[in-house]
């Protein structure tokens, strides 16, 4: 237990970096994900095809491979903004198709009659999307989106293997120093992760119940 207490500053620093990675990659992935999802449902065939190919390719690439590319291969292209930024870029790219899919499944979940009604009262594509479909879709999309962010929280641990000092990196370093208290150290790190993931999961559950009542 004392190994945990005396290394608490390290864990807190790691926790801060994990949160920073989560925030940066989360916002970045949200932006790219919205663009990709919009392309995926747009009337322009070439955009649809591009978004589909992008989603399928990135979704089927292992995260370790993406981060390996960012951390060790991108610097060869004279692109060296530091490992933290590189890991954030990798996590952003990896998470964006999952966000796009969550958004698309939300739009797909709106009953077709809603769109037909919007169209039949004469709203245009943009109007029916922004006044009728999206307000309903956003509600349905929040629980799966939160689930994507929970997965992202756990995924930030992979960045710890690629020279970023976040929670997993802290765990590795401290276990190297204090091999006698491995269990306590790892449980402490697990606790920090659960502090993020379990509240997010509870929020997702609450929102889901609310939406279920609304419909």
């Amino acid at each position: 237990m004392d190994a945990v207490i005396e290394n608490l500053p390290k864990f807190l620093e790691g926790f801060g970096n994990t949160l920073a990675l989560l925030g940066l990659a989360g916002v970045g992935a949200l932006v790219i994900g919205i663009v990709v999802a919009a392309m995926r449902i747009s009337p322009v065939p070439s955009f649809r095809a591009f978004a589909t190919v992008y989603t399928e390719l990135v979704r089927n690439t292992p995260l370790t491979l993406v981060l390996f590319f960012c951390a060790t291969l991108l610097p060869y292209l004279q692109f060296q903004p530091g490992y933290f930024t590189l890991a954030a870029i990798g996590l952003t790219v990896y998470t964006s198709p999952f966000i796009a899919e969550a958004l698309r499944s939300g739009v797909n979940g709106v009953p077709v009659g809603q769109a037909e009604a919007a169209r039949s009262v004469g709203l245009t594509f943009g109007q029916s999307l922004s006044f009728v479909i999206m307000p309903q879709a956003i509600r349905m999309v929040i629980p799966p989106l939160i689930n994507v962010f929970i997965a992202l929280t756990k995924n930030t641990s992979v960045a710890g293997a690629f020279f970023v000092f976040e929670l997993f990196g802290a765990a590795r370093q401290v276990t190297n120093d204090r091999g006698d208290e491995v269990i306590a150290i790892l449980l402490a790190v697990a606790f920090f992760y659960l502090v993020i993931t379990i509240p997010l999961g509870l929020i997702a559950g609450k929102v889901e119940q609310r939406v279920a009542v609304l419909r």
Partner: protein, 310 residues
Amino acid sequence: MSTSVLYDAPGPKAMTRSRVISVVGILLIVGGLVWLAFALGAPKTSANGAVQPGLWDPTRWDVFNDLVVWRALGKGALATLSMAGVAAVFAILLGIAFSFGRASENAWIRRPATIILEFVRGMPVLLMMLFILLVFSTGSFWAGVAALAVYNGAIIGEALRAGIKSLPRGQREAGLAIGLTPLATRFRIEFPQAFRQMLPIIIAQLVVLLKDTSLAFVVGYPELLREGIYNLSGFFGNRYAFSFFFVVLAIYLAMNLSLSWLARIIARRTGSHSGGVTAIAELDSTTLGGESAALGIGGAGGDGARGDSR
């Protein structure tokens, strides 16, 4: 549905506009790809003044004439597949156990199962691997297998439980009425139906598992990423690193995409004649966006909507 209800069937004016935007879009995308190809193909001068030829130069690829490279790639792919295979078997068995635990009527079984499940689902797989490796000193293979099996078992267990819950109540009642014990009802009446219904989701989760075997790279297991990029570019020099990366990426994509494709086919098959999934399929085919029903299940049910998107 070939057209979406979100917009009208395009008239001549909209058709030309759409075509123009489409062409511009294609030009933009192709332009971006060409730029990328040229950027990768341009010779690079490193800090010490050495000039490295571009990626499309034959000297960056001649290493693939060497049989050793292919043997190493094959070994790595085999190691990845064997870890995924062993972990998948254990994950499904654990998933069945978890689903029974969580759906149990006895609170002494249900509560601990719920707590363990929540704990496991909130933890990174990588941390579990490190934990198992350090605490039980199992070696990297079994550490990877155990962590993947426990994590994916928890997800599969939740899927199976949802499947059992979505069955009509009459199924269980009928089983009990003809004199089966509660356990036998679960095993012989409810479980087979739930498993069949949830098969697409289970296979989608197995794709995730296959992808996640690459995490074992971190704990030192010689899988495809370590064998194919790390070791080979260490041995043949970093100028081949990009070439190795693209080949390994292609192997991973081939493995994962074929498994996803299988999941889609099974989703379509089971979708035609079982209660729950048909409802999803119908819902999907009548919704917006004009995607095929099977794709909707694979994407949304698989990991988009469930969001266990590892």
